[in-house]
């Protein structure tokens, strides 16, 4: 959800973000819906593309211990 919001704030479509980061549109969609766990390097590339930190986009405050 955070990823989607950040992408929309930057006025980017899934396809635009996918092109910048170098993956397919479907991969971005699956990351946003939580159905695919990206590698750390892909997470970093997405953060750079959206000018955000890893905490902003990928930290889940509701992680159960």
């Amino acid at each position: 959800m955070k990823l989607k919001l950040a992408r929309v704030e930057k006025d980017l479509s899934q396809e635009d973000l996918a092109k910048i980061v170098g993956v397919s549109r479907q991969t971005i969609g699956l990351i946003e819906s939580g159905k695919y766990n990206p590698s750390l390097s892909l997470c970093i590339n997405i953060c750079i593309a959206l000018s955000r930190t890893l905490n902003d986009l990928f930290w889940d405050a509701e992680i159960k211990k």
């Binding site: 170098g22 993956v23 991969t27 590698s39």
Partner: protein
């Protein structure tokens, strides 16, 4: 001349992972087909017949070379020993003991198959069959048990040595 220029391909990691998964499944399918073919030919020509070797040589080469390649690559990349490490962390029986048990178990299995084959193929009576079975079982065990222990134990020790060497360097 730009036609021959190599450009760096951007690969989607998710697609790469799915492709690798498909290649893995494809490997299992090919191995299963080869195994079924070998068993069918064993049934058709009989175990121990030279015709079986001639007919099933391609399947056996695919099975053996594929397995040896996988084992060699995983040993030299250190993956084999890492798996042993993870296994020993979670299992009550260490991999070293399991290797010995597997070698002994496989030797017994081969010896029993050889024994049954001899008893069925060459014996004229039940008592003769039983005698042939015991003889062949004993001799096969004497041959295969040390060979398999040296083979599997050797692979285990080699993997350990390579792993220790790579850690030092």
């Amino acid at each position: 001349m730009d036609v021959f220029k190599r450009t760096k391909k951007n690969t989607d990691e998710r697609i790469e992972n799915i492709r690798n998964k498909i290649f893995k499944e494809m490997y299992y399918v090919v191995m299963t087909i080869c195994l079924i073919s070998v068993f069918f030919k064993m049934y058709k020509f009989g175990i121990g017949e030279s015709a079986l070797m001639e007919e099933a040589i391609l399947e056996l080469v695919i099975l053996i070379v594929g397995g040896v390649y996988f084992l060699a690559r995983s040993i030299f990349l250190g993956v084999f020993w890492d798996e042993v490490e993870i296994h020993d962390r979670t299992s009550k029986t260490p991999m070293s003991k399991k290797t010995i048990f597997r070698s002994v178990g496989l030797a017994f299995l081969i010896a029993i198959i050889m024994g049954i084959n001899s008893a069925v193929s060459y014996a004229d009576s039940t008592s003769q069959g039983l005698w042939y079975f015991i003889q062949v079982l004993f001799v096969s065990l004497m041959i295969y048990l040390p060979i398999l222990l040296i083979l599997f134990g050797g692979i285990y020790m080699l993997a350990k040595k390579i792993s220790m060497t790579s850690r030092k360097s």
